[in-house]
């Protein structure tokens, strides 16, 4: 009898406090297994897996039809040949990932509204094309995406799978360019822009996070802070394995071009008050001198041999036509998010 009572009590206590989580369609838990980041610091952000729906093959509209954007709204741009596309924060705030296909490029534009980081990933992994979804999980208040092919979880700011079959696999970065809408319109007036007809009913143009992007004190989840700069200052970060270097907009007041070396690689960082972009210099490019010739068109630089480069680093005219600047592992984001993941130095000249 005592044993029965004990079993009943144990069952009761168990039923009194428990939790579960699974993918109801398959009956498995998509977050099972080993994590390469401390799982105690992985948080369920609230909306749940796919609660923030990623976009898949989204629709686009013309610049002139994107009336929902103001000139100061930020957009993330991508260019493949003559196909130029803008992915506004105003839409990504609600979807965080846009799975797109531009020519032969399978691109995932990943954007975390809580860290302000927009990073492009190749959706072809190990030879298979996948789409990324929003896991609803956060690490250091940063997006954890998952790929639908293997259900592996990917930490955006680490650019690698941190759980699942592909754990340890690094994302192949695709260069994106972030600026404000007013600037983008001048750069690429013929570009396509994400349409608000996404198939989802959302209040595009109204941030779901209020003044989060500008309020240095507002955080929704615990994350380490670094008081060297205001938390929400937008910086350009170039990241390595464990280290990063950041460039601030004030760095580009007196000059528009910075040549720097980070972890043995040479970079060209170019900016003004509206954008910062970086390129890796390899081979003969290291021997060139560059001049900032930006005049509100896509043309950004000219080297001392007369080759002109656009904002994506493509050589668009001159003797070096076709000899592009190298893409760098660089992206824009809120300051606090970089030292939360990387040993970070601030460029000091």
């Amino acid at each position: 009898m005592k044993r029965v009572i004990l079993i009943l009590c144990t069952s009761f206590l168990y039923s009194c406090s428990s939790s579960s989580s699974d993918d109801g369609s398959t009956g498995r838990n998509p977050n099972d297994g080993i994590w390469s980041i401390p799982i105690s610091q992985v948080l369920d952000g609230g909306p749940g897996r796919d609660g923030i729906p990623a976009l898949v093959n989204p629709g686009f509209t013309d610049v002139s039809a994107a009336g929902y954007l103001n000139d100061l709204d930020l957009v993330i741009g991508f260019k493949k040949g003559n196909d130029v596309r803008a992915y506004p924060h105003a839409i990504l705030d609600w979807h965080e990932i846009a799975n797109d296909k531009i020519g032969d490029v399978s691109l995932a534009v990943t954007y975390c509204p809580l860290t302000g980081t927009g990073i492009g990933w190749n959706r072809v992994i190990n030879g298979k094309e996948t789409t990324f979804g929003v896991s609803g999980l956060l690490y250091n208040t940063n997006l954890i995406a998952f790929d639908r092919e293997t259900d592996s979880n990917w930490a955006q700011l680490l650019n690698e799978a941190v759980n699942g079959e592909l754990i340890g696999k690094e994302a192949e970065l695709i260069m994106l360019f972030e600026t404000n809408w007013g600037t983008w319109k001048k750069l690429y007036p013929q570009s396509k822009v994400l349409s608000t007809q996404t198939g989802f009913s959302r209040t595009y143009g109204i941030s779901p996070y209020g003044d989060y992007s500008t309020n240095n004190n507002r955080f929704l989840f615990p994350v380490p802070k670094d008081d060297r700069l205001p938390s929400k200052e937008r910086v350009h970060a170039i990241v390595g394995e464990t280290n990063a270097i950041t460039y601030r907009f004030p760095h580009f007041i007196s000059t528009n071009i910075i040549r720097d070396t980070f972890q043995g690689k040479n970079y060209l960082i170019v900016g003004n008050e509206d954008f910062i972009v970086s390129f890796e210099l390899t081979g003969a490019l290291n021997n060139l001198e560059f001049e900032f010739i930006y005049a509100e068109t896509e043309v950004l630089l000219e080297d001392n041999q007369g080759t002109r480069y656009n904002i994506f680093g493509e050589a668009i005219s001159g003797p070096g036509l076709g000899n592009n600047l190298g893409s760098s592992p660089g992206f824009m984001g809120y300051w606090f998010s970089i030292p939360a993941f990387y040993q970070t130095e601030i460029y000091s000249g």
């Binding site: 699974d22 977050n31 369920d44 615990p222």
Partner: protein, 326 residues
């Protein structure tokens, strides 16, 4: 007559609301407190089940065309009331909570669930009958909500869940309540009642592994209702209709307001109480939103259904409120 009013209070006055979430999916203490003071030495026990379904996504007061997310809270509530004197009574409410979150998107379903003992309410009440004339009673109450429930549930693989899905709040809350009920002179079986409650949430200082301080938003709730006694199929039953206004401020983390929390709502709640035996009765309630305004974008209540029984233990015979009206 006091007992008639008492029964009306029992039926229609909702008390404390302790929704723990940005989307009002928390433990429904609101509809399950408010036992009347039936006189010195009387003990009342109630057991209720509450189902709260949130499947409506709002941006402000605008309903979005999106039903992919669903939150359901199932609660079992044990209510105990004891009258120390004819004026002073105590009431407690213990809860067990089951919360689910289901997302149906892209042909996939994701399901998360937590269960556990929830927070408990301890309340001291003071009654002043006949203060507003005959057939009237005013009640005041002060109490606390004690953090008996767990507020640090993780998923089975150790991922921390936010306050939204926790059975408990991890904080002591202060509660204040006042209610007024007035029987109608021209129809003694009917009464109009109102109540006002305020919840002052405390801080959960150990939120997310002691890395943050979480505080739910202050909450005001007002109710206005009418109840009566009618005979249906030969049985005397107590129907009631209540309008509820609820206003919740935004939650805070580390002193900063959290977007997409807080809002205000107006509900209509038809209720029906049926005496089964002298001291035993059954009550049912349906609560439907008439107006919902949420801060930002949130899931907002779609429908809530409650059913419960209560039993009165008393020293004297035939003093159960409903019995006097049979």
């Amino acid at each position: 007559m006091r007992n008639i009013i008492g029964s009306i209070i029992l039926i229609i006055i909702p008390l404390f609301s302790s929704a723990q979430t940005c989307c009002s999916g928390g433990v429904p203490l609101s509809n399950n407190l408010g036992l009347p003071n039936e006189g010195k030495g009387i003990f009342i026990i109630g057991l209720n089940y509450d189902y709260n379904n949130l499947n409506t996504l709002n941006a402000g007061s605008r309903e979005l065309d999106d039903d992919s997310r669903q939150r359901i809270t199932n609660s079992v509530l044990l209510n105990l009331g004891y009258s120390l004197t004819d004026r002073i009574s105590f009431e407690t409410l213990f809860t067990w909570v089951n919360q689910t979150r289901t997302i149906n998107q892209f042909g996939f379903e994701n399901f998360t669930e937590t269960s556990g003992i929830g927070d408990a309410v301890f309340l001291v009440k003071y009654s002043m009958p006949e203060l507003l004339g005959s057939f009237s009673v005013i009640n005041y109450g002060l109490g606390v909500k004690a953090p008996l429930g767990k507020s640090d549930h993780t998923t089975p693989n150790g991922i921390q869940l936010t306050a939204d899905l926790q059975p408990g709040s991890g904080a002591w809350d202060g509660l204040g309540w006042v209610s007024i009920s007035k029987g109608l002179d021209f129809r003694p079986s009917a009464a109009i009642s109102g109540s006002l409650t305020y919840r002052l949430p405390g801080k959960n200082n150990s939120y997310l592994n002691n890395t943050a301080v979480y505080q739910f938003g202050n909450e005001l709730q007002a109710n206005l209702g009418y109840s009566d006694q009618v005979i249906i199929l030969g049985a005397l039953v107590n129907p009631g209709l209540i309008f509820k206004y609820r206003n919740v401020l935004e939650d805070e983390i580390d002193g900063q307001e959290i977007p997409n929390t807080g809002g205000e709502w107006v509900f209509v709640r038809p209720e029906l109480t049926i005496p089964i035996q002298q001291k035993f009765h059954l009550s049912t309630r349906v609560e439907l939103p008439l107006y919902s305004f949420v801060e930002g974008t949130q899931l907002t209540p779609t429908a809530r259904i409650s059913i419960g029984v209560s039993y009165q233990f008393s020293k004297e015979k035939n003093d159960f409120p409903l019995n006097n009206t049979l």
